[in-house]
Symmetry: C2
Subunit: 584 residues, 2 copies
């Protein structure tokens, strides 16, 4: 029990010197990657830079205690930072204590929600976020984030939450572009893109292994930061209008509590839930991918608890919402992290940076941070997914396109909520019209197949309908309509057989429909039968009155059903040589 | 085309003298029944009595033109009247022109919504109202309506929308009970219950046929109305505190338009949608039941148009929302109505009553109308459904109980919305955990069955998982978790086969999960196969890249899959004599 909630007890017991060495190496590499990221994502969230550092200390230690993934790296990530900015931006002005307080409360509430979902085993809630919706949301978020960072790269003011607002505001201030800032921003962008595309091949060419080359390519931002910081300091570019990070308070975060203002908590409830679910979906997806590579197990419910505790840890140490980041976790894994201890060591690295490194970051230009954000988020943008989804499934495409459009034009919360609502709606719409087939007997066999696709034998007195779907409220009425139409046909119908091999469940609405169908058929002088009902479905039907009222019978196989009604026809068809062997 | 939208062209062409005679007889009986009902339901909706009569003229003529059901009787009904009172009561004071205007606007907007749903073929929207929710809602509405009428029976004031409020208000005014009113109300109640339970057997005993006896029992309220009206007039009970209907304007309704106030229309949008859907579900259910008795066809989409046009007709003639009533339609059918013309004749009957009969209703006591309402709605209350649903399906019970509780304690709209939300939620929850079985080969056969239920042969290198559900976003993650657990087991797994005979569709989310599973299994050195994939599912998969990336193959049957991986084992098992013949 204790081990379930504290996975550290399991892996901690086997901890060896070699594991320590591997974890330490991974921690050093992730620390170097995380320092600029934590500053950049704090900037993106509209928060002071030290908040990004604080969110990269306590949450990592907490995750090391509760997490079941060996290589997941939690901390600030781009999408959650954007969602934080969107949620908090509606409640307070950037730079005010209220803004910071709301961001901390958001992390705290999100953490509590994740903990509650973990203890109540409500992880299935994440299912509501269908893949097209989350994929569309992340693409739209990437575009929004990139657009929002252009102001830092151009050195001009810009406002707005939607893509149109942001771009419009940028356009109106374009004349005020600061050329020094632009040089730094554009230069960093060019350098970082080259690092992504050109450095790795270059490193491979000079004989460096594939994994080290990949890891080195990921620390490119550090070089950019060092170079541009030195440039700003040396040429005093901050006096020429280049925005810099400035004074970052030295020292570790002090324990804080979020503001307990009921109005604030109600206002952030929906954003906190959305951040929780989006963060969890990303976390679990990365964790499962990495665990599979080493045949390791992760526990989805415990991951909710670990992520929830990490967010509470972030809040009480003055940080903002955190989640498991994809690229950082992959770097951690590739650098050799074997246990969550690597995360704790990373936390020590960030703590040391907070204590000793912050003065060095005084002249760090915001344009450089913005460029690192742009490069990072553009890799999230996957517009090709629109085409792929269109080809595969139109309803999924509609949900994805609506999510992207609404996220860009109305806002992140509207986009997500509309996407979830739409995918649930389209799902119910699709299942409301299940595939049904009128079936007949394949000559020479006991098999029954679709009359439209096969050469089969049917009787005018018997209608055999196979429904290829479970029967539940979204399609209960469909079945009633189908049978109502069948009754109204002019044929001398005497028996209706519902063939149920694909019916995995029958809910109370469908049961009511079956009862209505039975009574209506009875009123019309038609007998109603079932065939090939699955065991669990039959067990449940026995708990209702339906089987007592059923005018016909429940047959084990469709052949039995037809043979009991019209034995001559069934046997004659069985005795017939198959004319079309392929039809079976 | 014209015949599709105007069913009157179809049945009108075959109209004969005998049909006319039958329709006329039915119309007379329904008119006699409808006069007190229309007054009573107007009272229930908080509207002047003539509004009930107006709602029983134009809508019936309109339905006769557009309706596809031969025997459906539209008009004011109890539940829609309660919903009207609840919706309009929040916007205006009873008795004001604003109250009447809002009720008319509600009928108009509800009509427009139904017309739109009909033309856009959105009838499936009614599916969202699962049977437990509508059944619970009607039970709760019946209780609420009965409680709300007690004030008229006791002759005391009472206010409130929820059961607690209504009963509390009644209790505080109980001392003011008017004994004359109570005598009329309680006497009428006793008489009407006797008519329901005792009159029919008495009529049957004196040799009257079953159907006439049933129809006669349904006109009991008319006797009560005549007797109590005469009593009030003769003893001048209205001067002793007995509330009477009073002056009803004589004459036909004049054409009106609903108030075009955007604020009002927004405020009634949700109630109008709920009234539309509840009304439609009831209408279609009655219509299908009656149509089946004569093997007739109704068109669910055209019924939306007919019901929508009827409501617009009600609104422009000063009426309130109408729908197809259950008991009235049954009386119409039993009395011999053959075509919708019976409804048009009923409309003429009500019009004549409006022109000439209203002075006779001056002394009609409200207590009598309240008693007819109480008797009518108590037949809607079906608390036994709670027990039946509990026995059959717990999630359906939860949705039903929540609908009843919220309708009684918060209000009709809250109850319905919560019920719909909860049933969608529980549906997704259930499908998020589909039934899965690890399967093995039944000795002596090519069949594969659940290892937990049958004595079967499996190989430690092969894991065969059968999922008994379509794969879509609510359960996509479940599959990923399942396979992730399988990988982490210590067994020397080399092949995973997903057995798909019950998979009717795979949406984009599930496709993404299958791709993730394929990659993760590949990372763990395990090959991923599919077997028994249905034709339509396979067709769709071919439009994606998944099949190209699949490390294993897609096999026609599960036996083929195992035989291609481990031919020795498969053939040896096939050659084995069945040890447990029943296991197949």
């Amino acid at each position: 029990m204790l081990r379930r909630y504290f996975p550290i007890l399991t892996w901690g017991a086997e901890y060896s010197g070699q594991t320590l060495a591997n974890d330490l190496i991974a921690a050093i590499i992730v620390t170097v990657m995380l320092i600029p990221q934590s500053l950049a994502y704090a900037l993106l969230a509209g928060l002071p830079p030290e908040v990004g550092l604080y969110a990269s200390i306590a949450p990592l230690v907490v995750y090391a205690i509760f997490g079941t993934s060996r290589a997941l790296a939690v901390g600030p990530v781009a999408v959650a930072s954007l969602m934080t900015a969107a949620a908090v931006g509606q409640l307070a002005e950037t730079g005010t204590p209220e803004y910071l307080g709301a961001a901390i409360a958001l992390a705290f509430l999100s953490g509590l929600m994740l903990l509650a979902m973990g203890f109540l085993r409500l992880g299935f809630l994440a299912n509501f976020l269908s893949h097209p919706v989350i994929s569309g949301f992340i693409t739209a978020s990437g575009l929004l984030i990139a657009a929002s960072q252009l102001k830092h790269i151009l050195g001009i003011p810009s406002e707005g939450e939607t893509l149109v607002e942001v771009l419009g505001s940028l356009a109106s201030h374009l004349g005020q572009t600061n050329l020094f800032t632009l040089a730094i921003g554009a230069g960093t962008l060019a350098f970082l893109f080259w690092v992504r595309k050109g450095l790795k091949p270059a490193l491979l060419a000079i004989g460096i292994g594939k994994r080290p080359a990949e890891v080195l390519a990921k620390v490119g931002p550090v070089v950019a930061i060092a170079a541009t910081t030195v440039a700003v300091w040396h040429f005093a570019l901050n006096s020429r209008g280049v925005s810099i990070v400035g004074d970052i308070p030295r020292g570790l975060p002090t324990p804080t509590l979020p503001p307990f203002d009921p109005g604030l908590w109600i206002a952030i409830a929906v954003p906190a839930l959305l951040i929780s679910i989006v963060g969890y979906v990303e976390t679990i997806s990365v964790a499962q991918t990495l665990a599979a590579k080493r045949r390791q197990r992760i526990d989805p419910d415990q991951e909710l608890i670990a992520l929830g505790a990490s967010n509470v840890g972030s809040a009480v140490s003055g940080g903002f919402p955190v989640t498991g980041g994809f690229s950082r976790s992959v770097v951690n894994f590739d650098a050799g992290a074997e246990t969550p201890a690597a995360g704790a060591f990373t936390a020590i690295g960030i703590a040391l940076a907070t204590l000793f490194l912050t003065p060095l970051l005084f002249f760090l230009p915001k344009a450089t941070l913005a460029a690192t954000i742009v490069v990072a988020v553009l890799s999230l943008v996957d517009l090709g997914a629109l085409r792929r989804t269109w080809n595969y499934s139109r309803p999924d495409f509609v949900a994805m396109a609506a999510t992207i459009l609404l996220t860009l034009t109305v806002g992140v919360e509207a986009g997500l909520v509309a996407g979830v609502g739409l995918s649930v709606f389209l799902h119910l719409y699709r299942t409301s019209k299940p595939h049904v087939a009128i079936v007949g007997q394949v000559p020479g066999t006991e098999h029954f197949r679709n009359v439209d696709r096969h050469s089969v034998v049917t009787s005018p007195e018997i209608l055999s309908v196979r429904v290829d779907e479970s029967l539940y409220f979204p399609n209960a009425r469909f079945l009633e309509d189908l049978i109502a139409d069948a009754i109204a046909d002019d044929r001398p119908l005497e028996h209706v057989i519902l063939v149920c091999p694909a019916v995995n469940s029958i809910d109370a609405s469908a049961l009511e429909s079956l009862e209505a169908i039975n009574h209506r058929l009875s009123d019309a002088g038609i007998t109603f039968h079932l065939s090939e009902v699955k065991g669990p479905v039959m067990d449940r039907l026995k708990r209702a009155h339906f089987l007592d009222d059923l005018t016909g019978e429940v047959h084990l196989t469709q052949y039995d059903a037809v043979a009991s009604i019209d034995p001559d026809l069934a046997r004659r068809t069985l005795a017939t040589a198959r004319r079309h062997p392929s039809a079976a």
